[in-house]
């Protein structure tokens, strides 16, 4: 480390330039990570907060629009509820609606219809006020848009009215739309577009989107076999995220950009150390002639790249977190979470180090003989 530290100090301009590039990449990685967590939250936080292991949808439903297309009934629910290893099964309704409040606030809602006292009931799951028919509890994000307890939400175009009786503590969104929980019957009427005074056929009250399934701890249920019996197609909770509008497209795009950044960082660091090593050829030849072992030289150079990477990544992440905190307070879907940021940092460092390692291996190919003046 004797030489590494002194060279870092001596060529600080050069190393600072390189460090600035790594720092900028680190800033981008933090911001992208915040954006992808933010978008994921916006897309599926309503589903993530459900204590559901999997959903059973209509048989052969299209997986990327399962929530909007699927219709299942009581038979499927009963079949799943009777399975060994299934702790609870409850009907779940999901439909997107346009609405405005009696005070004129326009809002789109993802209506989650649930049975009172089931494990999906927000009063049971999140301790919200009980919802009776014609009532709704809403996501905290809807409250931020200006909806308060006591407001009346008017669904369009049916004109059906829902009274807001509570606001959930956390963000509950689905497909970038705020979630409102309401009793299953009200959900069924809303979905059918029932207007006041309509004669409602019975089948409206027999249909819902999916069966929410909660497995017992450690239970291993053969989903395919039960699907066969119940006439359903089941997706795990994570699989069902893909059915949230835009979710797959958004997350895969951002992930692709992040992977590109890691690759760019590895390449840039690799290229820098390649040029540096080539410039140091004569010096390395002298060191080897003087008896420095290959291990000594590799350790020294790798130590140098670790110092460079760690310091510049730390600075970049610091700036990224500061900028991210500012962005998070705007309506942009942005959320800083320790897990993804730590993961991204580790990847950035590891891949940067791989790039540097490939570059400094050149050291082993320098012939100490070149230290002796020009000719042989």
């Amino acid at each position: 480390m004797f030489l590494a530290i002194r060279e870092l100090r001596f060529a600080r301009g050069r190393f600072a330039l390189m460090g600035a590039v790594v720092a900028l990449i680190a800033i981008l990685v933090v911001l992208l990570s915040g954006l992808s967590v933010g978008l994921a939250n916006d897309g599926v936080s309503g589903l993530q907060r459900l204590k559901v292991s999997s959903f059973a949808f209509q048989e052969n439903v299209s997986k990327d629009s399962a929530f909007s297309r699927s219709v299942v009934g009581q038979d499927a629910l009963d079949t799943w509820a009777d399975q060994e290893g299934v702790a609870a099964a409850a009907p779940f309704g999901n439909t997107l609606v346009n609405a405005r409040t009696d005070r004129g606030v326009e809002i789109d809602l993802a209506l989650f219809g649930v049975e009172n006292d089931s494990f999906l009931d927000p009063a049971v799951a999140f301790g919200s006020p009980e919802v009776a028919e014609g009532q709704v509890v809403i996501s905290s994000t809807a409250a931020e848009e200006g909806i308060e307890t006591g407001d009346t939400i008017v669904l369009e175009p049916s004109g059906a009215e829902l009274e807001v009786v509570g606001v959930l503590e956390d963000q509950h969104t689905f497909g970038h739309v705020d979630v409102g929980y309401l009793p299953l019957r009200s959900w069924q009427e809303a979905r059918a577009g029932v207007r006041e005074g309509d004669v409602v056929p019975d089948r409206v009250y027999e249909e819902f989107t999916a069966v929410g399934i909660q497995l017992e701890d450690g239970a291993d249920v053969d989903h395919a076999a039960v699907d066969e019996a119940a006439g359903t197609t089941s997706l795990t909770l994570e699989e069902s995220f893909g059915a949230s509008p835009g979710y797959t497209a958004e997350t895969s795009t951002l992930q692709l950009i992040q992977w590109f950044l890691y690759a760019i960082s590895a390449l840039v660091v690799g290229a820098f150390f390649t040029v540096l090593t080539i410039q140091r050829r004569q010096e390395i030849a002298v060191l080897r002639a003087l008896g420095a072992s290959t291990r000594y030289l590799l350790r020294d150079s790798l130590f140098q790249s670790i110092i460079l990477l760690v310091i510049s990544a730390a600075i970049g992440i610091g700036i990224g977190l500061t900028a991210g905190a500012a962005i998070a307070s705007t309506p942009m879907p942005f959320a800083l979470e320790a897990g993804p940021i730590i993961g991204a940092t580790v990847l950035l460092l590891v891949l940067g180090l791989v790039g540097a390692a490939i570059a400094v291996v050149r050291i082993t190919r320098v012939d100490p003989l070149t230290a002796l003046g020009g000719s042989r």
Binding site: F10, Q282, L287, L290, S293, L369, L372, S375
Partner: protein, 240 residues
Amino acid sequence: MSALSLTDVTLLHGDGDDTVVALDQISLEVEPGEIVAVVGPSGSGKSSLLAVAGALTAPTSGSVRLGDVDLTRTSPRELTRIRRERIGFVFQSGNLIPALTSSDQIKLPLTFGRFKNPRDPQRLLAEVGMEHKANRRPHQLSGGERQRVGIARALVTRPQLLLVDEPTAALDRQRSQDVVALLAREAHEHGVATVMVTHDHEVLHHCDRVLEMIDGQLNPLDGEHDQGWVRAAGPGQPLA
């Protein structure tokens, strides 16, 4: 026992019709405390001699012994250790590390491994007359000063053998005399067997023995070429 002993050393470069004989059946013994100069035209094989003696190149045939170690029967890793512990190199223009100050240049070889009895870098720096520039980097030193630091760097590990490649190539007359006098003094006082390759006939009088390399063959130098050369009484003796 000789510090350095080359017996019938031949070194060929290239192969087939392009074979060049760099060293042709060379034998050379250098005693501890003796400084030997090797002169000769460019391309005569002087640098090859240093490369073979310094364990940088394996000879095509013949044996190279450093004290009791046969370098031709030693693994590359062992050779690195031998270079580190037993051999010192002084290069043409000093070949110092740009990032290091004079005193760090001298400490550097000591970071390569463990040394039982190294010389004190600060005292060595004073001995080569560079203590007043301990914190200067190579670009702030003159050619002669760089060579002095380079000599101190080569000596700090107490090598048995010091190999010196054209030390005065970039120096004016007075500085050349000073640098070679310093090499001779170190060789004599510390018992270092020294082999110096040079073009500069004016510095030969500091040396105990002068050899001439022509077309890969090594022979004692014919005295008439250089009036300045005075043969010393013997190895380890002060010069007249």
